[in-house]
Amino acid sequence: MTITLTQGILIAVWAMVAGLDCWLQAFYIFRPIIVCTITGLILGDLQLGVIAGGLTELAFAGLTPAGGTQPPNTVLCGIMTVVIAATNKTAPTTAIGLSLPFAMLMQYILLFYYSSFSLFMSKFDKYAEEGNARSFKRLNYIPLTIVVLSFGIVAFLSAYAAQAPMHQLVTSMPQWLTHGFELAGGILPAVGFAMLLKVMLKAQYFPYLLIGFVIASMIPFSNVLPVALIGVVFAMIEYYRSRKDAKVEAKMKELETKGDDMEDGI
């Protein structure tokens, strides 16, 4: 299929909505699972959107903007995965790999804004010093507008304008390359998990990582809920133990200070 102009415009509008949410992080509709589903709806293939959404969400599981990093953009990745899969009849896993350059393009645009929006700060400072609330509020709409329009333009150009060269590229790809992209889509979650581990893993937490891994390897089950529940069990045990420890510690401190007083007395 090809993307009609109407569909292209609808995708651009959806990209602006999801892009605004991506910037503010309010409803989390910028995550691939939602972006893909709505894009599928726009292209008239909800089923494809939902499946692609599940797969892309997994690929992006650990790629979060926490800890000051900006991952490849989920809005563009979600939209382009469904667009590429629908227009070229490729498997969604292969499409994830092919959509990544678009996601990285948006990532770098946002990184550019993170730096260049510093230019607005002196204006903000001026309005603050003057106590000019009205102008201060209005100034906030400028960065927001720039971001929202960028999402719309990039999504429209990627999904609508670039579809012919994209189709040519995808159809001319040899089988081993397509399969390679498919494999990469399956391995990609590893990057996100490694990033999560870099932030969270301390030696004392390694046993929990290991037991989660062992349980999921041994229990054949279609989602991570059993593992999550076992995690909750550990968390609860540790919660009550830590609270008890904190109380004991407080008591010890009390006794210590009392001991000091007595020594002084002698």
């Binding site: 599940g54 979060t64 700060m121 906030n140 960065p143 391995i187 998990f193 037991i211 999550a228 995690g231």
Partner: protein, 281 residues
Amino acid sequence: MTWKMVSKVEDVKSDKKDTKKKSLFTKHEISMLGIRSNLVQASFSYERMHAPGWTWAQLPFWEKIYKDDKQGLKDVMTDNMEFINSSPPLYPILMGLLLTMEEDHVDRTTIKGLKNALFGPMAGIGDAIFWFTIMPITGGIAASIAKNGNVLGPLLFFAVYVFLFWSRIPLAHLGYNLGTRAIDVIEDNSKIISHVASILGLTVIGGLIASYVKMSLVIKVGTGSGAISLQKQLLDKIFPNLLPFAFVFFLYWLLRKKVSPIWLIVLTFVLAILMSAIGWM
């Protein structure tokens, strides 16, 4: 957590006991504060992070407090334009807390010191809970449903996050009603909460590595009927999912060596395409 401002904060607390609190804001207005807390990232930049959005979100409330005090409004706006970075979903509780203090006209340096002491640790807790625990669990479960084409997957995901969106309202009320007592609640619980959130998060990540990183060799070693599948007859016999686990830790090691995440993605693609080209995977 070291508490530089302890003595000052204690002063504030004892002051408050004497004066009976008159609330300037209606319940509805405090709910709106919770909703407006979504604006913190509106003008995000590396230089000040959340400062302009943080100020924007609270500006209508300050305008009410400092209605007849132009200098007061100038001061509060200028002070809040300083660098701020914390966890966005926890801002409602912080805004509620600081609004009480602003309303009681607590000394400016005390408020500033409190912000510096509180925001950093809150960022750590927020990230551990929202990005590293709720996100992988919700995303993991919703995706495993959606993968089979069931629209319940995205719906479930959306429902969880709409719930979290509305939870900003009770959080704002909590911060506002507790006032400076919220500091004690946060101080007492922050360490334990981030500790148990890490435990839950890492157990889930362990499970996610096993379930969602797909690496499996198709190559056979040996010739004719004696050929054995490297994956099924060797690696799986040692432990299932051995390759995904090892690869994640290889990437983790690279990250510790300060390799950028972008290079890890490039490496993943190069490896996958290479493996496909030589027919190993």
